[in-house]
């Protein structure tokens, strides 16, 4: 009959129970050691540096965008301001004195020089 089990127990590595138990213990110990993070200063710094770097990058991004937006607004606001004052004066038929005009246009006069 070919359906009868073949006795392969001669190849059973667990026949030597002591050796086999040592093998099991060794695998478990090595597996656990590999999963446990090393307690070195370098490793701890590395594990802390990653979230800190991520937070710093996020903050830099937020502040960077904010600065860009503010800068953009200021850049648009500066040339409009004197023109707006002059337009107001014209609309209201006002005749400001030279000092006021120079105050409003002061920046552009300095730049032209």
């Amino acid at each position: 009959m070919h359906d009868e089990k073949i006795d392969l127990s001669a190849l059973d590595p667990a026949r030597d129970a002591h050796h086999w138990n040592q093998l099991v213990e060794s695998v478990v110990a090595r597996a656990l050691a590999r999963r446990q993070p090393p307690l070195t200063i370098g490793y701890q710094m590395l594990t802390w540096s990653r979230p800190i770097l991520a937070i710093a990058a996020a903050l830099a991004l937020v502040f960077g965008i904010r600065e860009l937006l503010l800068h953009d607004r200021m850049a648009h606001a500066r040339p409009v301001a004197p023109a707006f004052v002059l337009a107001n004066w014209a609309a209201n038929n006002e005749r400001p004195d030279t000092t006021k005009i120079l105050q409003v246009l002061g920046g552009s006069n300095d730049e032209s020089q």
Binding site: H2, S9, A10, L11, D12, P13, L23
Partner: protein
């Protein structure tokens, strides 16, 4: 082999770093890993090394085991890959293939048990890898055809066929050797 649900629970606990779960998984799967490695490599000492390495690798990659209830199949795939890589390296080093008998006969005193181990290894060596895997997992490990089929990813019917053929070929080999020994 453990029930699927029990295995799944152990894997989940091991993922959380539970040493007891680790130990239980090693105790229940190291022999099967050894059998599959032996089927590919043919040398018990190499198979033992590969079985250990594969379990360590599996535990390192445990988070990638998506179906914890199929841990055995996932592990056996790792064992097969590791064993095939080891076999390829061994072939590159040009080590002759039929060393299981030499390994046993040269390192140990030739008792009846070691002589029989040698005979078995030589006989197993004449089978295809798939037949060796099935006969070792079934007749040495006591796995069912359903478990073998699930772990090695072929049908139960195929597992039965492999086992039938493997046993027939092994008997032929072993009986032939007995007859030769009697004539000698």
């Amino acid at each position: 082999m453990l029930e699927r649900q029990v295995t799944a629970t152990l894997v989940i606990r091991a993922k959380g770093g539970d040493p007891v779960a680790f130990k239980e998984l090693v105790q229940t799967h190291l022999r099967a890993a050894f059998s599959v490695a032996l089927a590919i490599l043919g040398r018990p000492s190499d198979a033992e090394d590969i079985a250990q390495d594969s379990l360590l690798l599996a535990f390192e990659r445990l988070d990638t085991c998506r179906e914890p209830e199929r841990f055995a199949g996932w592990l056996m795939q790792i064992v097969r890959n590791q064993a095939r890589n080891a076999l390829a390296s061994r072939r590159l080093r040009d080590v002759p293939a039929q060393e299981p008998t030499e390994e046993l006969s040269s390192n140990l005193p030739m008792t009846d048990a070691t002589a029989f181990s040698s005979q078995l290894l030589v006989a197993l060596n004449s089978l295809s890898t798939a037949r060796r895997e099935v006969v070792l997992l079934h007749d040495l490990e006591g796995w069912t055809h359903a478990e073998i089929a699930d772990a090695l990813e072929f049908s139960e019917q195929m597992s039965r066929q492999h086992l039938f053929q493997a046993r027939r070929e092994l008997r032929k080999q072993l009986d032939g050797e007995d007859v030769e020994a009697q004539h000698a």
